[in-house]
């Protein structure tokens, strides 16, 4: 749930952005969750469409949500959730290759210690 208080000194777009960002970061809004359309959320909260669009744009710039055409705006997750997704994909690959668990961990350690590519 998201709320908007017109009497708050915090600008409306920031109220929307901050609440959505907090819910994405806490995992309350899971990756893949579809947010309401800009028009719908603006109508529900009694805000201008541009205000909600600005909040969504800033969330997109922060990498927390992504706009996917007809699917609307969906939660992409935090950096940590993206790392977990990447780790899961790596685990599936090494399992498929039949690599022993210790060797798979050694590879990760070696890559991390080698520093940025």
């Amino acid at each position: 749930m998201i709320s908007f208080d017109p009497r708050s000194p915090i600008p409306p777009y920031e109220q929307v952005r901050a609440q959505l960002a907090r819910q994405v970061q806490s995992g309350e809004l899971a990756p893949g969750t579809r947010l309401p359309s800009v028009r719908r959320l603006a109508g529900d909260l009694g805000l201008a469409v541009n205000t909600v669009a600005r909040a969504y744009r800033e969330l997109e710039q922060a990498g927390l949500v992504a706009t996917r055409g007809r699917n609307g705006t969906v939660v992409t997750g935090t950096d940590e959730t993206r790392a977990v997704d990447a780790a899961a994909a790596y685990a599936a690959t090494v399992r498929g290759l039949g690599l022993p668990r210790d060797r798979a961990l050694e590879i990760v350690r070696a890559v991390l210690e080698a520093g940025p590519a």
Partner: protein, 281 residues
């Protein structure tokens, strides 16, 4: 009894039935009845928190709108000598009117909204939508059976139901389905102008109920059309398996509708939206 007298008797019976229903639903006043009805509505729909005066008023108003819609539908059915499915049309119109007249948060008040995009399947289970579409599908299937049924026997030359009438019946069922789904979609997509989590939950509960009312229209129309098509399948010239299928189809459909309604209620269908649209208690 003359036709006019029969019509007045029907109107009298309907008026009596609606007054009785209105009294038991708390739609005709009576603080205790209204409160009891609101408590039942809250329990049935899984509304969190205490039943306050606002909810009692809202439930009573919904009952009045729905009762008025049903009365209009019954009147239309009597006046046009049409199907009793019009009563469910009236129910859907009453539910829509209640939604359109629902109180909105005043300007300048805080607002709350869902953080996820809501869709029809957040308010009613997907299987219920499937059951409604399946009820509609019986109409074109029975019509197809009527088209394919072999004709013959001693009554082969007796004129049967005209093809245009059968096509018209299928068109009526299709219109009811389209109308139900469009109305349900409209109800789900309407703005939610509420100022607290409790109001948001209440609005969701009424929305879910209105969507179910809209879907009843398809179920009732499909049943009425199935009965009419079963008569067409009993045309004197119709032979073979089509005749018994035509005889049993409306009975099976009626039993299926009762079973779907029972399973939906017993399985907590009216509370389904709570799991899909969580709102802090």
């Amino acid at each position: 009894m003359s036709e006019a007298a029969a019509t007045w008797v029907t109107v009298g019976i309907w008026t009596g039935a609606l007054l009785l229903a209105g009294a038991s639903l708390g739609a005709l006043g009576g603080a205790r009845l209204e409160h009891r009805r609101a408590v039942r509505f809250a329990a049935r729909c899984g509304l969190p928190g205490e039943v306050d005066a606002g909810l009692v008023r809202r439930v009573a108003r919904r009952q009045r709108f729905v009762l008025a819609g049903v009365a209009l539908g019954a009147l239309a059915s009597i006046a046009t000598k049409g199907s009793i499915a019009l009563i469910w049309g009236g129910l859907a119109v009453g539910a829509l009117a209640d939604q359109l007249a629902s109180p909105a948060a005043p300007d300048g008040a805080p607002r709350v909204a869902h953080t996820t995009g809501t869709r029809l399947t957040d308010y009613v289970p997907g299987w219920l939508l499937g059951a409604v579409v399946a009820a509609f599908a019986c109409s074109p299937l029975l019509a197809l059976l009527w088209v394919l049924a072999p004709r013959g026997g001693v009554d082969a030359d007796v004129p049967g139901t005209p093809g245009t009438e059968v096509a018209g019946l299928v068109a009526v069922a299709a219109t009811a389905l389209a109308g139900s789904l469009l109305l349900a979609r409209f109800l789900v997509r309407r703005r939610q102008r509420v100022s607290s989590a409790a109001d948001l939950a209440t609005d969701d509960a009424f929305r879910a109920q209105a969507v179910r009312d809209a879907l009843h229209l398809t179920a009732a129309t499909s049943l009425a059309v199935a009965f009419a098509l079963s008569l067409a399948l009993h045309d004197p010239a119709v032979q073979g398996v089509a005749r018994p299928v035509g005889g049993w189809a409306p009975i099976v459909l009626l039993l299926a509708a009762v079973a779907v309604g029972t399973v939906h209620e017993a399985g907590g269908g009216p509370r389904y939206w709570r799991g899909r649209l969580p709102v802090p208690a």
